[in-house]
Amino acid sequence: MELLINMVLLTLLAVITVGIIRVRNLFGVVVLAGAYSFLMASVMIVLDAVDVAMTEASVGAGISTVLALGALHLTKTEEAPPRYSAMIPLFVAVGTGAMLIYGTWGLPAFGLADTPMNTGVGLDYLNRNYGETNIPNVVTSVLASYRGFDTLGETTVIFTAGIGVLLLLKRFQREG
């Protein structure tokens, strides 16, 4: 059952992506992107990544969409027809895909418990978490404590982006 839902949702994702490629009206594209994020979020729920799903929903479908719309509001909403043939890009993309298929075909099958990844550090966290931190949500404890430095970096990234956007867009009295 899990498996089936998972596959259905994924297929829908693929369909929407095609839409994103083909639609020329940028508003439409942004809306599709929002839907894409929602689907992605639900896939994440199926994959038991509830925190991630929540974030993806609020960020991908929420903030990103708002920002994109804001940007559209400041620029224009129709995509010009392509000037050059899309052969080379297609080649690049397909090449990457081929490399990926080559690479991923050796990956462990979906949903198994005894893969190196699921017997590695991840399991370790699950086992030791209770003794070391009183935080039932292992994601939170790993995020904020075991790999807290990543999260500091992540916060720094947000900080950087925030200041960056202000540097680029904020109007100071002198100009304008």
Partner: protein
């Protein structure tokens, strides 16, 4: 016009709940899905909604831009400071074990709590600031 007023009324009722929800997500992050980042985004969403309905200037009156610009670095500062706190009690950077008189789990909870606060502050304020910047760019 009427529609608009309805919208305003509803949202007036709605926005406080958004903030409460954000608070819940923030504090409940230890036990269920959620945490500083998600809460921050939701908080920002609330303000953005307010701005969309009552206009940018109203929002800027409610949440002044200077404050936001001050909060962005503050969050990181809080986070970084927790790490320094770890140093001060003689542990490694970002180590929480002795933040609460050597009681490791408590120390961890305390550290995580403050860290999440830091994340919340930076994320929320950044999102708001970015929204202000984009929205403000349009005028004149």
């Amino acid at each position: 016009m009427r529609l608009d007023t309805i919208l305003r009324v509803i949202s007036k009722l709605f926005i406080p709940f958004i903030f409460i929800f954000a608070l819940y997500v923030q504090l409940h992050g230890d036990y269920g899905p959620g945490g500083g980042f998600q809460a921050g985004v939701i908080l920002a969403a609330g303000v953005i909604l307010y701005a969309i309905i009552y206009g940018l200037n109203a929002a800027k009156r409610a949440v002044p831009i200077r404050l936001v610009e001050f909060l962005i670095p503050l969050g990181v500062l809080i986070y970084g400071a927790v790490g320094v706190w770890g140093l001060l009690v003689g542990d490694n950077y970002l180590e929480y074990n002795n933040l609460s008189h050597g009681n490791q789990p408590h120390g961890q909870e305390r550290g995580v709590f403050w860290v999440e606060i830091g994340v919340l502050v930076t994320v929320a304020s950044t999102m708001i600031a970015i929204f202000y910047a984009f929205a403000g760019r349009g005028r004149e």
